[in-house]
């Protein structure tokens, strides 16, 4: 029963939503609205599960004095700082001028933004060290990348302004994006769509059971 009930829930909910696509009238649309309203609550609990699991993992690290355990205390500190201030502020916690907004602006924003900005350095290093035109395919990749990088910035215009209108770097980049790039992305998109359709069907028919059994 531990496995059968989840599979039954999946099938009932999934097929109900497929039926509603074709018959969007009462009483079928009521089932769609019902399942979606439940989904919001469960999704919110799933977010809380992730947060609580993070606390649990870091608590274990401190308790067992694993490598880097003092930083787990920092994780707990950051978490409870935001939570205490956020709960204290009440529903208007996102309003400019609140302490929560201040912490968001001075802690969360710089940490998040900087963490992603260091990727710029690694992209540059990878471009220099690893981007090699070893074969035909890599050469096509390299040429396309160069065209797009130069065509998508004003420098591209200045480098190619002597060329006739329609043949400048910006125009070539636009053409690459609008036609061959679109074609390739469309092929990928169609392939993924077919894959998702088949895997959704497998899940609903109970052929894919990994989520319903095992850890």
């Amino acid at each position: 029963m531990r496995r059968e009930i989840p599979l039954a829930i999946t099938a009932i909910v999934g097929f109900a939503l497929i039926i509603v696509y074709f018959i969007p009238h009462p009483p079928f649309n009521a089932s769609k609205d019902f399942f979606e309203d439940l989904f919001f609550i469960i999704a919110a609990f799933a977010i809380w599960l992730g947060c609580l699991n993070l606390l649990k993992v870091n608590a274990d690290k401190v308790y067992l004095k694993k490598k880097g355990w003092p930083f787990s205390i920092v994780v707990w500190f950051g978490f409870f700082l935001m939570v205490i201030v956020g709960f204290w502020e009440g529903r208007g916690f996102m309003n400019p001028g609140t302490t929560f907004y201040y912490l968001y602006d001075k802690l969360y924003y710089p940490l998040n933004a900087t963490m992603f900005s260091i990727l710029a350095f690694f992209v540059a290093s990878a471009s220099y060290r690893a981007f090699r035109a070893r074969n035909k395919e890599a050469t096509i990749l390299l040429i396309a990348a160069l065209f797009v990088m130069l065509g998508r910035v004003p420098f591209g215009y200045y480098l190619s302004s002597w060329l006739p209108e329609g043949w400048r770097l910006g125009n070539i980049t636009d053409w690459i994006m609008d036609f061959p790039q679109t074609a390739a992305q469309r092929a990928i998109m169609i392939g993924i769509a077919l894959g998702i359709v088949s895997s959704s069907l497998r899940v609903l028919l109970g052929l894919e059971r990994t989520f319903a059994s095992g850890e």
């Binding site: 999946t10 999704a43 609580l52 602006d105 969360y108 396309a144």
Partner: protein
């Protein structure tokens, strides 16, 4: 307070950047703080933006069927207790079923059928050479790309030739994606540099 805040933000920014030289305790502190603060933000936002309006207020207003959502949600949280963690699969089943049911139709229509529809286009546009070439590129590129992804048949002969053409289109696309990725990453760095040099040090107007 604003000045203190800017200094804290700048020091945290430099702490993350210090990783570029070498991994160090200052970076690890900033990284751990980021993880904790993010989780705290998500926790609080979920409470005030979802639990309060969608669960608490609805239950108070007498819409008691929302309690089913709360029950499934608590079952999800029981995953934290290994002995009874299996019960979370019921909640997961509802999530998986909803997602599978919605994806089945939406992906088939928007990413499948509509995309195919707009690939079946005129191969010759009278009086418009550039559009004709463009349409040919779209059709040949999409078709050859799909041929490449068909691994049930060996890529030999004409089929193999089309697959090779598909690879070239894909490489062109990946090159364009790489160019855009560089643009994106540089933009993020420009933002942080503007903050450090402008907002913090006041060197830029």
């Amino acid at each position: 307070m604003e000045t203190i805040g800017i200094w804290i933000a700048a020091l945290l920014t430099l702490g993350i950047f210090s990783f570029l030289y070498k991994d160090n305790p200052f970076y690890k502190f900033c990284e751990s703080l980021f993880v904790g603060v993010s989780a705290g933000y998500w926790f609080v936002t979920t409470f005030w933006q979802v639990f309060m309006p969608k669960l608490a207020d609805n239950l108070v207003a007498g819409r008691f069927y929302y309690i089913i959502g709360a029950i499934f949600g608590v079952m999800m949280l029981l995953r934290l207790i290994p002995k009874i963690g299996w019960i979370s699969r019921w909640s997961l089943a509802l999530v998986v079923g909803t997602t599978a049911g919605l994806y089945f139709t939406r992906y088939l229509v928007s990413n499948g059928m509509v995309q195919v529809q707009y690939t079946i286009i005129s191969l010759y546009v009278k009086g418009n050479l550039s559009q004709t070439i463009g349409n040919l590129v779209i059709v040949i590129g999409t078709f050859s790309g799909l041929i490449y992804f068909f691994f049930s048949k060996e890529h030999k002969g004409a089929f193999g030739g089309l697959a090779k053409l598909g690879i070239w289109f894909l490489m062109l696309s990946f090159g364009a994606s790489f160019g855009y990725t560089v643009m994106s990453r540089m933009s993020l760095l420009i933002g942080r540099m503007d903050f450090l040099l402008g907002t913090w040090l006041g060197l830029i107007r």
